[in-house]
């Protein structure tokens, strides 16, 4: 990617990296966890000042990206965040912004999100249900002035920290999305723990929540494309962050193989281990390749983006947890201690394996999309 090498992109990335390394090193992630905190809102405002929330937003709405390719810039930030399994609502805020910007309207919320003053999240999952973003049991019943929302969403990232949620609902058999303030009467928020140290989720109930007509995001006709776009952004960010994790963990495990000696020779000299490292390197490059392909497709809004994203999500989701477990094995006993940082990384990739569709879900999707392609040709 030539854009990846542009001086603006490199400066943007190095600024982000310095900020992450200084402000949220792994030690800080552990502190946040011990304090039961997901992220520090003040820290997030400063991340927003660095431009992290502007990337998907056009300049006339207060956004903009250094390279002119916001999706790739955002993926670069996610990859850097993976290096220290950073906290923060980068994913939920970006996904909501992607939807709002494509739908049109909601300028003041966009402004609040871009400035980092507010956080928003996508309420798409429902209790007990797998990843089926195009269905909803939450209902939006038309009222005199707008809609009344009823039902429950869950696995809403940073739900308890969000001022707004973008809710997928069905209204008379038609899929719609609504931007709902979490302090609206009838909204209940119950935190949900995750395997990650700092990624918090929430179950959000809507008990007769009245919203204005203007809370709707996009028209009924726009909604499937908006949901697809939001899903694609969510998955690209996940994959990019996982690539950052894998890059870091494979790297320090290779260093470990040079440094650690047994029977008077470095671990790196044993062929049995060398071959495992060769596989790790191969899978790492494959994860990078498929993530880049998906990022480019989403960035260009290619027709093939749908399948490219599912390919990447399936492959990265399948490989990453096993790769980190391999690194645990290669570290030996130290790898399963709380003290060692490996589990911080393992937690994040395990979480991401299953969120926004498991590899198995995406395999089915790739099969269906490929079959359509075959019969169309």
């Amino acid at each position: 990617m030539t854009e990846a090498d542009s001086p603006e992109r490199l400066l943007f990335a190095s600024t982000a990296q310095a900020f992450l390394e200084k402000e949220v090193p792994l030690r800080r992630v552990r502190e946040l966890h011990e304090a039961g905190v997901s992220f520090d809102p003040e820290w997030w405002r400063r991340a927003a000042e660095l431009g992290w929330t502007s990337l998907l937003v056009p300049e006339e709405l207060g956004g903009g990206s250094v390279s002119g390719n916001g999706v790739e810039d955002l993926a670069a930030i996610a990859e850097l965040a993976g290096k220290t399994v950073a906290p923060g609502p980068l994913h939920p805020v970006s996904v909501v912004l992607a939807g709002l910007v494509d739908a049109g309207g909601h300028e003041s919320v966009i402004e609040a999100l871009v400035s980092g003053e507010a956080v928003a999240s996508w309420a798409v999952y429902e209790p007990g249900k797998p990843w089926t973003p195009m269905t909803s049991t939450v209902t939006a019943t038309p009222t005199a002035s707008g809609f009344r929302l009823d039902g429950v969403k869950d696995r809403v990232e940073a739900g308890a920290e969000s001022a707004f949620v973008l809710v997928v609902a069905q209204s008379g058999g038609v899929l719609r999305q609504f931007l709902v303030p979490t302090d609206a009467p009838g909204v209940s928020v119950d935190p949900q723990r995750s395997v990650d140290l700092v990624k918090h989720y929430a179950r959000i109930g809507f008990g007769g929540v009245e919203v204005d007509e203007s809370a709707a995001v996009g028209s009924p006709e726009q909604t499937p494309a908006l949901i697809e776009r939001q899903s694609q952004i969510a998955m690209v960010l996940q994959c990019a962050e996982v690539v950052g994790v894998l890059d870091t963990v494979v790297d320090f495990t290779i260093q470990w193989a040079f440094d650690r000696h047994s029977f008077g020779r470095p671990l790196a000299s044993y062929q049995a281990l060398k071959h495992r490292f060769a596989d790790l390197k191969m899978y790492l490059e494959a994860c990078r390749a498929t993530t880049r392909a998906a990022t480019a497709a989403v960035s260009n809004r290619d027709r093939a983006a749908e399948v490219a994203v599912s390919v990447a999500k399936s492959y990265v989701g399948e490989r990453a947890p096993g790769m980190i477990q391999d690194c645990v094995q290669l570290h030996g006993g130290i790898g399963v201690t709380w003290e060692h940082d490996l589990h911080l990384y393992l937690r994040r990739v395990t979480l991401y394996r299953s969120m926004f569709g498991t590899p198995e879900d995406h395999n089915l999707r790739v099969y269906a999309l490929t079959k359509d392609l075959e019969s169309a040709s």
Partner: protein
């Protein structure tokens, strides 16, 4: 060029004679039309154009019958290596003859005594008067029966360590003293050959590169081979399957054939294989660009090499699982082929260097891990222990 359906190309079994005659004929037509050897230099019969022209031609030629089987090894490995290491005269003669569709070239590298340890070859090249006399045996030569010339690696000095006493020769396959035998593979293919050399005489003009510097030439071949196998050679012309047996499995067609098109368990398995197939292609591009821009070392070709065979394994395993008993006992039209293909699954993990060697290469030349212990390092070759073969 004749029009074809790229999803159902004409058979081009490398083990038969006819496809090779056909390929030469097609290559002649390409040459006459001014589209042959796009990336080879003009002075050697090519067009001297950058890879973008080849890619554009590939896209345009997708629906036409192309001499695909000439790509590897003739153009992507043999001609590419002659271009790197040959004399002016060798380049003018052989590269242009291949481009005109008059010569097919092959590699004569592996030997019956061992494949992975290529520098340990024991075919002899003895200096007798002003001639070289070749004695020994080569094996696993792709389609040597159809070839005009072969790049033959032989030992010309036994008193120095193994890499230092090798010489590469370009030998006419019809030379007196060469006996050629077909190898029959598990899947019935007879494309590979074994050759025996009994006092085959060659002149100095047959030497490629320098005497005793044959390892350098062989290394170029291996380099070009890794790129070619991964689909990253600018010297390949045309794109798509070589022939019927090379067309990728259509998993949805398999599900239809066994009458379970809506079985989600099978769809999921098939989907996983399709994901890995897609990533294999993405990885080829990623590594090609990575090597070009220096973010990956040239040895990264081995990453593509392993991933290629792993993906083929997954595809064949998946096809076997989906077809069930229909893949092993005749009954449903065409499905027994799935079981037969499965039997030679490991070919992709062996040909062009085993995946074990490729993993060593990744460990040692990409990650920088210590080299494996080698008992023959720095030892005169005649003192190196060899197995009984």
């Amino acid at each position: 060029m004749p029009l074809i359906d790229p999803n159902d190309p004409p058979g081009a079994d490398r083990g038969e004679e006819a496809p090779w005659h056909r390929a030469k004929e097609l290559q002649k037509r390409l040459y006459e039309g001014g589209f042959a050897g796009i990336c080879f230099p003009r002075e050697y019969g090519g067009l001297g154009l950058p890879i973008e022209y080849q890619k554009a031609f590939d896209a345009e030629s997708r629906n036409y019958e192309m001499p695909m089987i000439l790509n590897t090894p003739t153009f992507t490995i043999c001609c590419a290596t002659i271009l790197d290491t040959g004399t002016e005269d060798q380049k003018r003669r052989h590269i242009s003859a291949a481009i005109r569709g008059e010569e097919i070239l092959v590699q004569l590298l592996s030997e019956p005594s061992g494949g992975s340890d290529l520098a340990g070859v024991i075919t002899r090249a003895d200096r007798v008067g002003d001639k070289w006399v070749i004695n020994g045996a080569k094996t696993w030569s792709t389609s040597a029966f159809a070839a005009d010339y072969g790049l033959l690696l032989a030992r010309s000095d036994w008193d120095v360590p193994k890499h230092e006493g090798l010489t590469m020769f370009l030998v006419p396959i019809n030379s007196p003293g060469i006996t050629l035998r077909r190898i029959k593979q598990v899947n019935g293919s007879v494309e590979f050959c074994e050759e025996f050399f009994d006092n085959v005489e060659l002149g100095d003009d047959a030497v490629i590169g320098e005497v005793n510097n044959g390892w350098h030439v062989a290394s170029r071949q291996l380099y070009h081979e890794r790129r070619a196998v991964g689909g990253g050679s600018e010297f390949a012309s045309g794109t798509g399957a070589e022939g019927k047996t090379d067309v990728p499995v259509s998993f949805s067609a398999l599900l239809e054939a066994i009458g379970r098109p809506n079985d989600t368990r099978l769809q999921e398995m098939a989907g996983r294989a399709l994901v890995h197939r897609a990533v294999k292609e993405q990885l080829i591009g990623h590594v090609y660009h990575g090597v070009n821009d220096g973010s990956l070392p040239p040895a990264a070709g081995s990453i593509i090499r392993i991933n290629h065979s792993e993906t083929i394994q997954l595809e064949m395993d998946t096809a076997l699982a989906i077809t069930g008993s229909a893949g092993v006992v005749e009954g449903v039209e065409g499905l027994l082929r799935v079981g037969e293909r499965y039997l030679s699954r490991q070919s992709a993990s062996l040909g062009g260097g085993t995946t074990e060697i490729a993993r060593n290469i990744i460990g040692e030349r990409i990650l920088g891990f210590p080299r494996e212990y080698a008992a023959d390092r720095g030892v005169p070759f005649k003192e190196v222990k060899r197995g009984r073969s």
